[in-house]
C-alpha cells in the first residue's frame, strides 16, 4: 500500500500549513496552564500532534519554529531550547509511526520516554545558560537542596529538569492522544497518504 514514509523530507502544502497550527496549539496549552495555574508547561501539545499526524521531521520543524517565534516575541533565550523541541518532535514522531500511540496507556509510556529525552537534551543548555537551573520553582528548590549537599551540578540539573518534565510530558501526551482520537478520518488520511498517483483499471 501507498503510505507516507517515516523520514519523509517532502514538505507538502498540507504539512507546511500544519506547522503554524501546531505552534498555535502549543501557545494555547501554555496559556491554559498559566490561566489555570497548573504546575506544568503544556507547551508542546501541538508539536506532539504534528509529529503524530505527519511524522518526526515535520514535528521537529514545528518544535524548532515554535521556539524561534517564542524567542522573537517573548523570551530570546527560548531560541536555544529549540534543540529540546526538535528532540521532542522526533521522539514522538518515531513512537507514533504505525499508530503506536493508540491507547491511553501507550500515550503515558510515550510521555515517559519523551520526558527522559527532553531532560537529556535540556540539561546541558540549562548548565550553560543558567548554571543548571530551569526557572521552575519546584525544580529549582530541589536543585538548590542538591548542590548545597555537594551533588554534582550535572546530576542536580538533570533532576531539576526531570522533576518537571515527567508530569508535564505525560500530561502533554495524554492530551495529544485524546485530541488525535477525535480528528476526522479524512484529515488523518491526508497526512498519511503516500506521494504517488496510482493508475486505476
Amino acid at each position: 500500500m501507498n503510505k507516507r514514509r517515516l523520514w519523509s523530507f517532502s514538505f507538502t502544502t498540507a504539512t507546511l500549513v500544519l506547522i503554524p497550527a501546531a505552534i498555535g496549539i502549543n501557545y494555547i496549552g501554555k496559556l491554559f496552564a498559566g490561566v489555570l495555574k497548573l504546575p506544568l508547561w503544556l507547551d508542546s501539545i501541538g508539536t506532539a500532534l504534528a509529529s503524530m499526524l505527519s511524522g518526526p521531521v515535520v514535528g521537529a520543524i514545528s518544535g524548532a519554529i515554535n521556539n524561534i517565534i517564542y524567542g522573537l516575541t517573548m523570551d530570546p533565550i527560548s531560541f536555544v531550547y529549540a534543540l529540546t523541541s526538535i528532540a521532542i518532535g522526533i521522539t514522538v514522531g518515531i513512537i507514533a509511526y504505525n499508530g503506536r500511540i493508540n491507547t491511553l496507556w501507550k500515550s503515558i509510556i510515550a510521555g515517559v520516554v519523551v520526558a527522559i529525552v527532553a531532560a537529556i537534551v535540556s540539561t546541558p543548555l540549562n548548565v550553560i545558560f543558567w548554571g543548571g537551573q530551569t526557572g521552575n520553582v519546584w525544580g529549582d528548590a530541589l536543585y538548590a537542596y542538591l548542590i548545597a549537599h555537594a551533588v554534582p551540578v550535572w546530576i542536580a540539573s538533570f533532576l531539576d529538569e526531570i522533576v518537571v518534565d515527567f508530569p508535564d510530558k505525560i500530561a502533554t501526551m495524554i492530551i495529544a492522544f485524546l485530541i488525535f482520537k477525535g480528528l476526522p478520518r479524512k484529515l488523518i488520511l491526508l497526512y498519511q497518504s503516500g506521494e504517488t498517483i496510482e493508475k486505476l483499471d
Binding site: 501507498n2 498540507a14 488520511l189 497518504s193 503516500g194 496510482e198 486505476l200
Partner: protein, 284 residues
Amino acid sequence: MKKIIVENLKYRYPLSENLALKGISFEVEGGEFIGIIGRNLAGKSTLCQALVGLVPHFYKGAYSGNVEISGMNVLENNISELSKKIGIVFQNPFTQITAAKLTVYEEIAFGLENMGIEIKETIRRIEYVLHLLDLEKYKDRNPFELSGGQMQRLAIASIIAMKPEIIVLDEPTSQLDPQGSEEVFKAIQSLSREGITIMMVEQKIEKIAQYADRVMLMSDGEVVDFDVPQKIFLRDDLLNYGVQAPVFTRVCRSLNIKNKNTGLYPVTLDEAYELMVRHEQNRS
C-alpha cells in the same frame, strides 16, 4: 470552444475502498453557468477538486480518465499551472485566507506574487478585482477582521485576480448569514456577466434555478442527468436524490401552469409570475 471536457473520470481517495467518482463524462462551453446538485457525499466536491487538479495532485490516490481545462490536461499539468485557467472557492471563507498577509490588498497579491506576475500588472489586477467585488473600502483592513460575506468576496477576488477563464464555487454561501450570502451571490452574478465560465455547487435550489444555464444532478459518484434547469426540475424522482424542485416550479406544477412554447414548468420567480399573469388573463 469547449472550456471543460471530462471523459470517463474515475477516482478513489488514498487508503479508501470505494470510488468517489465512477466514470464521469460531460462537456461545458465557454461562458456557461453550470449548477451542480445532489445529496450529501454524492461526489460534488470531489468533482470540483478534480477540475482544478487538487484531485489527484493534492490528494494522490487512484485516478483514470481524462480531464481537459481550456485544452490543458489536468493529470499532466500541476495545480499552479492549472490555476492560470481555472480557480476554485470553498465553503469556509476563514480557511481560504492565507493567514500570512496583513491587508486585503496584500492578500489578493499572494497568488500573483507566486506566479511571478510583475508588480505593475499585479497592482492593475488588484485594483480591478477590488472594484469588481466591491472591496475598495476594505483594502487596508486585516483580512481576519472582515465579516463572513466580505471574507468570501475576498476569496473570490483573490482567485479572479489570477485571471482564470473558469471558476468553480463549492457551496460558497453555506457558512454565511443571509446578508453575506446575498453579497456573494451578487458578486457571482457580476463574474458571470464578465464572461467567466462558472461551475457552482449549491444547496439553495432557488439560486441554481435563477442563475444556471444547465444543471448537473449527481448521485453516488455519477452524473445522473445534465440538462437545462426546467428539465431537471421536471424529474419525478428528484426527491430520491435528496433534492427538491424550486418552490415556484412546484406551485406552477400543481396548478398546471406551463410555458406554452416549451411545454415546461417555470423555475424562477420572474418566469412563474409572468406565466401566472398570462394564465389569469387567459381565464378572464
